[in-house]
Amino acid sequence: MRSISRATAPLATAAARLELLEYFLVHYEDLPRCAQASLEWLVRHAGVRRCVCLAIDGEAGQIVGVAGVGVTPDDVERYAAALTHIHDPLVRALTAPAPTTLRSGRENGHARYPGFSGANVLAVPLRGDDHDEDADAVGLLLLKTGTSVTGDVNWLVTVLGQKFDQIRGRGSLTEELRKLRRERALFFTIINSVTDPIMLTDTEGRLIVANSRAEKLFAATEEESEGRRRAVELNNMLFSAALSRTAVEAPSEARELLLVDPSDGSDLLFEVLSTTVEDPREGTGIVSVLRNITDLRRATEQIEENYQKLRIAEAAVRAERDRLNLIIDSVADPILVTDQSGATVLMNAPAEELFTVGAEAPPTAQRTVQSNDAHFSSFISGLLLGESGPGEIRRGEIGLMNPVSSETIPVEAIAGKVLTETGELTAVVTILHDRREALERTRLYEQLRAASDELQMRVQSATAELATQNELLRRQAIELEQASRLKSQFLANMSHEFRTPLNAILGYTHMLLQGVAGDLPANIRRQLTRIDSNGRHLLTIINEILDITRIEAGKMPMQISEFNLNELVPEVMAELDPVISRSKLTVTSRPASAPPTMVSDRQKVKQVIVNLLSNALKFTHQGGIEISVDYDGGAQLASIAVRDTGIGIAPEHHDKIFEDFRQVDDSPSRQYGGTGLGLAICRRLASALGGRITLQSNLGEGSTFTLTIPAEAPQ
């Protein structure tokens, strides 16, 4: 281990050697100090751990120990040998031309070479002239045997030998003075060459030695300007104050000191490092090195200021970016920001769903993402290559696919450039708009429109058909109306034509019966009576046909008046009294307890009652007939019921009897006379009055015909 460390011990640098030489210069009279410094230097730079230096004391005629490292001061002092003892190994080593190995041993109970722990010692002679091996050495360097005598050791032996020779064999005073001056000049050259002010002051801060830089700040002659002198005076005061503070507070620490530049009055900031030095002759002094840190401070302040600005700007940018992220994440459409190289620098969550996929995702999803990426890249490549002008927006459709669901998503991509102030492309912002919803909406809208069109067409065709039908119906209605009118007219004319001959038949018959031709035999009178009664029957038929015709032709207008229904019934009974008398039936009436004031066509109501009563009389052979009047005040309906105990009508014939020219028995040999038009006319009149006729009857149980009409007839 040891040999390795020795072998690898580096040569001391030139700076280290110079440092030692400078020390020699400073302590040019102090041999022990130089020796001690040299030994310490060996320890530091040559890997020596333990050594002792001996020097010849000419006055005492001895060689004595002057310095040592790795040994105690007592050990060093034990080294002493009279030069006269020429057999002493140390004295012999002085004269030996090369380093001598001294054997260890003990003398008088002590180790022969103190400090070396009984090991053999290598004694290297120190000579004033390195090149004269015959010259007597001026001292010895004792090293532990085995210590590698390297170049650094040899160099030290040489310079230390010379230094010893210099100090011991100092020649004449003039020589000394010359040397001193030279060394002083060298000293000042060295300290002046240092760019920082260096000075030695007393403890009060008064200048003892200063380099030129320090003098500029702290010294001024009488000839110099007032301002400069004042500045210097101020600097001295400031420095003294700083020194006293340093002494009190923290002697070894660097302090900042603000001084005035005497040449222009500007502020200068220095860092002061002060060290107290003790000199046996000069007493205590303080060495101060000042480093101008004005620019450094300014730079530092500038840096700090810039740093603060940067921090603020950074915070602002971060806030802006956070806000931007919030904004773009809140957009439902995917947004991507691409830098000029085509790399995606920002995307919101919807975009991430399309363009990113976890490593654990299935290969299909990975491929989908790659495919999406390729589609997107080819879309924006044009913008990135600068094919379009500034501010231009590129639109296009891209077919993307959802990596998870593999659903095809047609998107409309809108991309715009982001340019710097100088027009340089920094980014491309792309918004992808999912077109599925729009497409779906369009599709639904088309369907809706098609359905609407079809519906419209159907409605049109239906309307057209309806119009055609209406037109047909209208024509049919006109034709029917014409036919009906023609029929009515025909019947009216016919009845007139019937009446004229009938008038003559009835007239002449009547005349004959009145005895115009004189008295007639009974048989002729009976025959004439037959002609008369048949003629009258024919006339009734014609009149009833005429009535129906008039009603249907609308030529029987309503004659509205107020009347009492209770009074109408006795009137009808009086009119039919001859028939009632002949019938031998009991005909009674029961008026309404609270008869309404009818607002209707009195003549028509009466005609209906006459008809119903006539029928009842005709079809009833025994029993009685009751006519009752009732009024329902709530519904405002009046009813006149004619109840008989006649032959009755089977239910299956109830509808039939209201038809024109109908009786239950239609046969030519029917039992009952009449035109069969009575109930048909009643039905029409009841309808014209806003009411109706109802029948309750059964064969052999009598019949009840009821006329029900509103108290107020419709206009």
Partner: protein
């Protein structure tokens, strides 16, 4: 009643059977009777004979009963003669049309001769007031 006996009645009817029937019965009832077959004859007879009453059938060939009535009622010499309209048209409005034309009374055919005589006597009484 005696004054009515012998009163001259002009019977106007184009239907011969009816005309003669009424004429015969009126004569049988004690009236004098003149006859006309149409409107023109009716106007001419009325002007020349100045009858006490005219029985006017309205449906006549040539000048009809309405027109003849209007002519007679417009004539100072004949307008005082009462005119009883006779018609087989039973439709509503027929009687109204007759009154408008100036008829003093209205009888619907078929009208038994007896009924007609009753109406003639009634009108003559009215005229005599």
């Amino acid at each position: 009643m005696t004054t009515q006996n012998g009163a001259l009645i002009l019977v106007v009817d184009d239907y011969q059977d009816a005309r003669e029937m009424y004429a015969e019965y009126l004569q049988f009832s004690g009236f004098r009777v003149a006859e006309a077959r149409n409107g023109n004859e009716a106007v001419a007879q009325a002007r020349s004979l100045k009858p006490d009453l005219i029985l006017m059938d309205l449906s006549l060939p040539g000048m009809d009963g309405w027109e003849a009535t209007r002519v007679l009622k417009a004539d100072e010499t004949t307008k005082h003669i009462p005119i009883v309209a006779l018609t087989g048209h039973a439709l509503a409005g027929a009687s109204e049309g007759a009154r408008k034309a100036g008829c003093d009374s209205f009888v619907t055919k078929p009208c038994l001769p007896d009924d007609l005589v009753i109406e003639v006597r009634r009108m003559l009484n009215v005229k005599q007031g």
